[in-house]
């Protein structure tokens, strides 16, 4: 495919997909080791009531009110999970399950009760996103990357998602030692002077930011898959946490690129006319990578097995 076609149509969705995958997979490494992997699932679900509230308050399908609404409900859900787990004395997984299903169901009811029929706002959008629609109309080819006029027309989702991915990478780099210590041994970390509870909350908030930033562009399904699949596959490639995070970044990138290409061209190669959902295909590729790592990864063996 030539640059004239590739740059306006495919470059931006590809990059957004890669950034969204990275932003989710990086914190996912710690979430899985902390047995909190379900939090990605939880946050992605509570995004729905958040965008509905954002819409109801402003009456517009605009990005910022919806993202703020989603961010708000994500934070509320993180706190609720903590409250349910602490005071209900149930394990964190059960607390997450209770909170996110209730809030998602509340979002569905809210959506039906409110008059949103006139606007494009539905559950499907929140789940699959619409990666393919994020095209760069002002671009004519590779040279547009150096053209300020064309760059001004870049879909705002790209810089936003890139910034979030960069921020999360920076967060993990700077707090690498406390994150590793408190993930492995919280009691010891607290005695070493690490504020373990605020750190845990910060990790949750960073994950929520990743999920909220990603849902708009690529939908919840990628977020859920990327929080879990690349880190889980990466764990089976190495016994070092630093290298695991490197592998997870590679797997996330490969899933995004391969998934996007397969969704766009796979059906054509099979003689079918229409492309399939890129978000769905990216999640499927991530799942296949996890399956391959589970079968062929060099560090699959676990203690006691």
């Amino acid at each position: 495919m030539s640059g004239e076609e590739f740059v306006p149509l495919s470059l931006v969705p590809l990059l957004i997909g890669v950034c969204a995958a990275l932003a989710s997979a990086l914190p996912g490494n710690f979430l899985i080791l902390r047995r909190q992997a379900l939090i990605g699932d939880a946050i992605s679900h509570v995004v729905l009531p958040g965008i509905v509230v954002g819409f109801l308050l402003t009456g517009r399908v605009a990005t910022w009110p919806m993202m703020l609404g989603a961010g708000g409900t994500a934070l509320v859900s993180v706190l609720l999970i903590e409250v349910v787990a602490r005071f209900g004395r149930v394990e964190p997984g059960a607390a997450m399950g209770v909170v996110f299903t209730s809030m998602f169901a509340g979002g569905v009811l809210l959506l039906e009760l409110s008059d949103t029929s006139s606007v494009h706002l539905d559950v499907q959008h929140a789940l699959y996103g619409n990666l393919e629609s994020l095209i760069w109309l002002d671009a004519f080819g590779w040279e547009s990357l150096f053209d300020p006029v064309a760059l001004a027309g870049l879909p705002p989702e790209l810089p936003r998602m890139a910034l979030v991915a960069l921020g999360i990478a920076l967060f993990i780099r700077v707090l690498w030692r406390p994150l590793m210590l408190s993930t492995f041994d919280e009691g010891f970390a607290a005695m070493a002077g690490i504020a373990t509870r605020p750190l845990s909350l910060a990790l949750m908030v960073m994950s929520a930011i990743a999920a909220v930033a990603a849902f708009d562009a690529v939908g919840s399904i990628i977020v859920i898959a990327m929080f879990i699949c690349p880190p889980a596959a990466a764990r089976m490639m190495t016994d070092s946490l630093a290298r695991q995070i490197g592998w997870s970044a590679v797997f996330a990138t490969v899933s995004a690129v391969l998934g996007y290409v397969l969704a766009g061209y796979g059906p054509l190669w099979l003689g079918r006319a229409d492309a399939v959902s890129a978000a769905g295909m990216i999640a499927v590729v991530a799942g296949v990578i996890l399956g391959l790592a589970a079968v062929f990864g060099p560090c699959r063996r676990r203690a006691g097995t």
């Binding site: 004395r89 700077v174 590793m180 492995f184 009691g187 010891f188 016994d239 946490l241 203690a303």
Partner: protein, 252 residues
């Protein structure tokens, strides 16, 4: 035997607890406990299962919430003296599948020196390797921790505490489920620490080794039962009171 009267002044004690009460909602699991560890002592916290031994340790350190009471290190609140304490949690309290090698775990003991971003230098690695050697684990530095035996894992935990170079060592069941070689290695290291003037406190469950390993005991069963030098406080009578009818053998 009556409770020994403790000196009011706790400033000389490397680890002292006053009026500690801990409950998880229901009845307190630890109630009104006073404990004063003498400087340079090697003290065992002893009591039946469910007596609140680990809880006493964790609540003193602020790792689980307490309902009442204080814990001090040389007279200062524990929260301000953490750098002088090395804490060894129960081995079962962490996930050993964690992607780390033995040397990585020992390096965690250097967190106070390294901070967030200070680079790891050769001297840091040397110190970590030296600590592994002191527990006889130098050949396992690059082994993933999940592939170590239970005893080897416990020794790695002890090496991490050694790397902290603390004055007070608090260990939660360091001999639980370890092989004889590990037990011998650990007790040798702990006795060496005591010989250097450090203070060692262990939650301990094996009554038969108390006389060989420790200088002082603290017997408890939710409340404090007795404390003092082993010869005075570790008697048939105090054991009966701590264990009640559950004591299967006499301790001599």
């Amino acid at each position: 035997m009556l409770m020994r009267t403790e000196p009011e002044d706790v400033s000389a004690s490397p680890f002292a607890v006053r009026g500690l009460t801990v409950g998880y909602g229901g009845d307190p699991v630890v109630q009104g406990v006073d404990l004063t560890v003498p400087d340079g002592a090697m003290l065992a916290i002893i009591g039946p299962n469910g007596a609140g031994k680990s809880t006493l340790l964790k609540a003193s350190l602020g790792l689980v919430p307490r309902m009442a009471g204080t814990a001090t290190v040389f007279g200062q609140p524990v929260a301000r003296q953490r750098a002088r304490i090395a804490y060894v949690p129960q081995r079962a309290s962490v996930d050993w599948d964690f992607p780390a090698r033995a040397i990585d775990v020992v390096m965690m003991g250097l967190y106070r020196d390294l901070g967030l971003l200070r680079p790891v230098r050769a001297r840091h690695l040397d110190r970590a390797r030296d600590c592994l050697a002191r527990v006889g684990m130098e050949d396992f530095a690059s082994r993933q921790i999940g592939q170590l035996s239970g005893g080897q894992q416990q020794r790695v935990f002890l090496a991490r505490a050694l790397a902290q170079d603390a004055e007070v060592y608090l260990l939660d069941e360091p001999f639980a489920g370890v092989d004889a070689a590990t037990e011998a290695a650990i007790i040798a290291v702990l006795k060496l620490l005591r010989d250097q003037g450090r203070t060692v406190v262990c939650v301990h469950h094996d009554l038969s080794t108390v006389r060989d390993y420790f200088t002082h005991v603290f017997l408890m069963n939710r409340t404090a039962v007795a404390q003092g030098p082993v010869a005075e406080a570790f008697t048939q009578e105090t054991l009966q009171r701590a264990y009640g009818g559950r004591l299967a053998f006499a301790a001599g």
